[in-house]
């Protein structure tokens, strides 16, 4: 699973390569498209739903389960 950290790292890399002079147009376009997709995915992660707060409960047998906590 990728994370927003992956998106940001890859975006930095894409932008650095696009800003260099020794890159073919086809490669530049492919990078650009990937960059747009990464931007979109990063922004979607930021727009995610409300903070999730759960309590961790331990059952009698030592099993763990999570319960939503009203905040």
């Amino acid at each position: 699973m990728t994370t927003i950290a992956d998106d940001l790292t890859r975006l930095e890399e894409i932008v650095r390569r696009l800003e260099s002079d020794d890159i073919e147009l086809d490669a530049a376009l492919a990078l650009f498209e990937e960059g747009v997709a990464r931007l979109r995915s990063a922004r979607e992660r930021l727009a995610a739903a409300d903070l999730k707060v759960q309590t961790v409960l331990e059952g009698a047998g030592g099993d763990l389960h999570l319960e939503h906590l009203d905040t």
């Binding site: 927003i4 940001l8 975006l11 696009l18 800003e19 002079d21 147009l25 992660r45 759960q54 961790v56």
Partner: protein, 385 residues
């Protein structure tokens, strides 16, 4: 024998106070005149009322004062003090109006000997853990730049959790807080904290752990100085933040944790990235992305034309998907679009399948094609080659 009425001493028009007025006025003066204070003295005449309240006198060599401790506070103080025990009490002077009595309303009571013992134990544990290297800066792990799941070891009912939730919601709303409820003071707090910290290691996908509580008195922090708690914290497998909200004292968990936060709110600030910073970084990257592609355009305009449809498609897709969020990026991309070239009078010959016709060989006599100009397409046909 009744005294004769001394009319020259007091007249009916004189201002005469009732007892209630007097005690009420005394109450106002006394209770408004002191901040809560610590008092040292010896306990005598100790009594537990059936209500659970404690009553006793506090005395020194020459004076004494009545003390009253409500059940709620008495419960926290633990074992009732034996007759003659020297104690520190925290409280506020008050007037008990029904009896016109001056008293001290006590909220905390600690035997002076316990303070000495606690201090000795603290020094012992501190020296031991220091020797074992648990405070070693080389042990400290860095906090992850983008944590998304945070284990929070604290009391579910405490102010600390509320503060952590408020800050987390503002900074990184897509985060997940996994709260492990534990007592943070009093009997059983040490065992519960140890159990909670061990539980953190059994949670999958946790990025870091905050352990803490809101502000409390010095003796309320005892659990965070306990050897067992420090060892359990050191054994947590993800980076840890200790947030014991006390302005002056540093607890031993503060020294063992990878990072010390002065308050639970500050812990949440350290734990989670701020979405506003990330949004700014993304805006910057979006601008550079567009600028980077622009560089290509200037390098080879005809090669960009070949890719024009794809780029235009990408722009359209961006606009459609991101709406006004990316309006700025879109404007920049638009400015760099090869279609701008068409405004200068260039035209793109395009085959019916959308291919751009670049070479003589691609023009077949009699075949239809279209000329793409700035405001649309013009149908055309090859007459001869």
């Amino acid at each position: 024998m009744a005294l004769p009425f001394q009319s020259d001493l007091i007249t009916p028009t004189d201002d005469v106070w009732s007892v209630s007025q007097l005690t009420a006025a005394a109450k106002r003066i006394v209770e408004g005149g002191f901040l809560p204070m610590w008092v040292r003295g010896e306990v005598t005449g100790f009594k537990v009322w059936t209500s659970g309240h404690w009553y006793f006198n506090l005395r020194d060599a020459t004076s004494q004062v009545r003390c009253c401790m409500w059940k709620r506070d008495a419960v926290r103080a633990g074992k009732p003090p034996a007759e003659g025990t020297e104690v520190f009490v925290q409280g506020k002077p008050a007037i008990y109006e029904a009896k016109g009595e001056f008293q001290l309303n006590v909220t905390r009571l600690i035997p002076t000997a316990a303070i000495g013992q606690a201090q000795q134990e603290l020094e012992r544990v501190k020296a031991l853990l220091h020797k074992e290297g648990l405070f070693d800066p080389a042990r400290k792990r860095r906090l992850p730049a983008f944590a998304s799941a945070v284990a929070v070891v604290t009391s579910v009912a405490g102010a600390a959790l509320r503060d952590i939730i408020t800050v987390s919601r503002r900074r990184w709303p897509s985060a997940r807080l996994l709260v492990i409820d534990t007592r943070v003071q009093g009997d059983g707090a040490v065992d519960e904290l140890v159990r909670a910290l061990r539980l953190v290691n059994r949670l999958p996908d946790v990025d870091l752990c905050i352990v803490g509580r809101g502000g409390g008195g010095r003796e309320d922090l005892a659990a965070f100085n306990a050897e067992a708690v420090c060892r359990a914290l050191a054994a947590v497998r993800v980076p840890t933040i200790s947030a014991v909200g006390h302005e002056t004292d540093i607890s031993l968990t503060d020294l063992v944790a990878d990072v010390r936060a002065p308050t639970p709110s500050a812990a949440a600030e350290l734990a989670l990235a701020d979405q506003r910073d990330v949004r700014r970084a993304l805006d910057d990257l979006a601008a550079r992305l567009a600028g980077g592609l622009g560089g290509r355009t200037r390098l080879g305009i005809e090669r960009v034309e070949r890719a024009g449809d794809r780029l235009q498609g990408a722009i359209a897709a961006v606009l459609e998907r991101r709406g006004h969020d990316l309006a700025r990026l879109a404007a920049q991309l638009e400015a760099l679009s090869p279609l701008r070239v068409l405004e200068r009078g260039y035209a793109l010959p395009t085959a019916p399948d959308g291919r751009i016709l670049k070479r003589r060989a691609e023009f077949i006599p009699g075949a239809p094609f279209s000329l793409r100009v700035v405001d649309g397409s013009v149908p055309a046909r090859v007459e001869a080659r």
